[in-house]
Subunit: 303 residues, 3 copies
């Protein structure tokens, strides 16, 4: 399936071949990119939730390729006057050539892709989907490990509310890997997520002990416990600080373990790791711009 | 009177000839536009009130023609440190080649046009003036009806606080049309508005029954009851939901009635109409960008 | 010391030769500037505090030279999710070619310059440093007075919390001038500021009477009492309105006195002065864009 005009709603919608085409384009753009290829195009950013990295990196990606960006944040828009999301989308669809949308509500991007004539990229919605983050994560592994198969991958943290972690697992499950889902009981994967992983043939085990599985791991993906997603703050208080990855935690790791994190971090990932060869999270942030440049280019121009 | 360097404060300031020149330029830009004509120009957007469509469409218009845009919203500016509007305007006037201003306060744009050396476009202020919206509305009628005269035009909703509705009436009153001003008593036109319409020779009648006049209408312009403009929320509660336009309401309309709305809507205009040939409001939003491109170009370049 | 890749943290870091090179470049840009010289460059604006003039003028400066701008304001970013400034800086450093940062906290820009690989420009932090404002102020004097030496310069207002005033004094202290530090006792200079001025050989006197020293002055630099910096609002209430510069205040001034102000003003500087030949504050705002263009160009391109 070609990339031209395609919506990016969930990592599930993309085959290994699709992803390989994206990674090849990203490789190319890392070396050099056509700075005027999106000239005259307008990217509409709709952010209904806080974001730094995702919004800024889409904006940088667009501008590096010559596109213009229109930012819409909920607080300054007619959403405040009671305008429906439907009307906001119709309007932004009229003004833009491609829409990037982030929302706290599950299914927003799918809804947007139904409403809009122009392609829609999901910049994270609800607890399941953050497909461009998953693409970045896979590309980072491919780059640092030289392969996407035959890896033992720990995903540690909030697997219940964390869409980056969930999308990452669906991403690596496309390849032959073993996934260790590491979390306190209250933050373990939802049943629907587990069922779906099983359905697509993922090989995964659940545990609440990072210590136990650590020596096996090639990749450790850490995520933040996201205070803002807990329906009850008392539940958050119970689990906050329930894990912290630092040099001591990692002392029995493989020599070439890489530590990933979609960022932002709060205190689950120690600054001690920043200047070690294990650190891969700033690399993710850096490669994120190239993945998003490649996405915009493939979707808008088809190459 | 030429367009070059002209302020756009009120639809009243423009003759039919001025408008015809604008519409001709808009026709041209709908087909193709000179994407670099405003290169090097900086448009200063000053938004002291929420907006989506107006701000975004000015921004898109500017960027399509190669201009750069600076956005100033009250919440993030020195207005928070107690800076006067006068000083804010002086400063934005120094940094911009043209200013676009929106404000809740009547007369802000006129004041801005007095203070600033560069041209000022009123993007809506107070309860009277929203001239670029009126230009869009006239252009939409011209396009969909093929003429601006000899029409029976119903304007339904908040005619007391709604500047889009009021400016629209002053716009159509320039041509030979019959206006039906339809509203609950509490939201009827102010005396000064009626006096002025009479003064310029407008032919209008007031009614609170849409049902009664509907069969006559060629155009029905619906507006939102704007909660944020009521001095007393109790007054708003009395009138909210006092009219709602849906397919049932419109069953006795002319076959070629068009339904307009400046948007955003809340619940006064049913989604049922969206996919009928009567719907003209998304067309307004679409044509809005071209009107604003033409305006920027005529004012900054003179052609 | 060359300008290429240099951080701009404090006016103290710059010699008279450095400043002269900057002023020469600014002279040049006032007449004409190379509009594409920063094409492909991305300026990251990080504003952790309200600003209009500084943010907008950096944005205009960047855009006039062909650079793109990314704006990050605290309220819409992952700082709200608990992200550290360190991580925010690392991320913006990845996405930008140069960072501009404003913060209420003393030392933020120095910290940023340590963390970031790309050059950092301090757009004001804490109570001491606002180096680009000082550069603008010096350039304005050089332009209006034809020299930077042999002047009697009054600095009136909040010398305790006002970083613009403090940086201005450190700027003029580089040249042979006499400084009159005029303020109510509660807003007088801090000991560390006085010690440092003495250390670099500045010739200054303190007074609380503007009236007394006014007849001597060639330049009067007025600043706002900054409500937002007082730890205790009761202290603010005591001093607010303790001075006001108007035509009456200035009646015994030299004929060619110029009145400067970094703006915004509240009520310490009367509007009466705006249309007199003494007014230099709008000139400061105007020249500010050229100084910032010259800075971006010297730092990013080296010329």
């Amino acid at each position: 399936m070609a990339w031209k005009n395609r919506d990016v709603v969930s990592i599930d919608d993309f085959s290994k071949e699709d992803l390989e085409a994206l990674f090849k384009k990203t490789d190319e753009y890392e070396h050099s990119y056509p700075s005027g290829i999106l000239k005259g195009k307008i990217i509409g950013n709709i952010f209904l939730e806080y974001s730094t990295r995702t919004r800024v990196s889409f904006e940088v990606a667009a501008k590096r390729l010559g596109a213009e960006v229109i930012n819409l944040v909920a607080e300054y828009s007619s959403i405040k006057k009671g305008e429906s999301l439907y009307d906001t989308l119709k309007m932004m669809d009229i003004y833009s050539d491609l829409l990037v949308i982030r929302s706290p509500i599950e299914g927003t991007a799918r809804f947007a892709s139904d409403v809009c004539k122009h392609p829609v990229i999901n910049a994270g919605d609800g607890y399941l989907n953050h497909p461009t983050q998953a693409m970045i994560d896979l590309y980072t592994i491919r780059k640092l490990k030289g392969r996407l198969d035959d890896l033992r991958i720990g995903v540690c943290g909030d697997l219940r509310y964390g869409r980056a972690a969930v999308s990452f697992m669906f991403g690596v499950a496309k390849y032959s890997n073993k996934i260790y889902a590491i979390s306190p009981a209250q933050l373990s994967m939802r049943e629907d997520v587990k069922n779906k992983l099983t359905e697509i043939g993922a090989y995964f085990v659940e545990t609440n002990s990072l210590e136990e599985v650590l020596p096996e791991l090639d990749v450790l993906y850490v995520t933040r416990i996201q205070k803002e997603r807990f329906p009850d703050i008392a539940e958050y208080e119970k689990v906050k600080g329930s894990y912290k990855v630092d040099l001591k935690t990692l002392q029995n790791s493989k020599r070439d373990l890489i530590v990933m994190h979609p960022l932002p971090r709060v205190d689950e990932l120690s600054y001690e790791i920043d200047n070690t060869p294990m650190q891969a999270y700033f690399k993710q942030a850096e490669l994120g711009v190239y993945i998003r440049m490649a996405l915009l280019s493939l979707i808008l121009v088809g190459e």
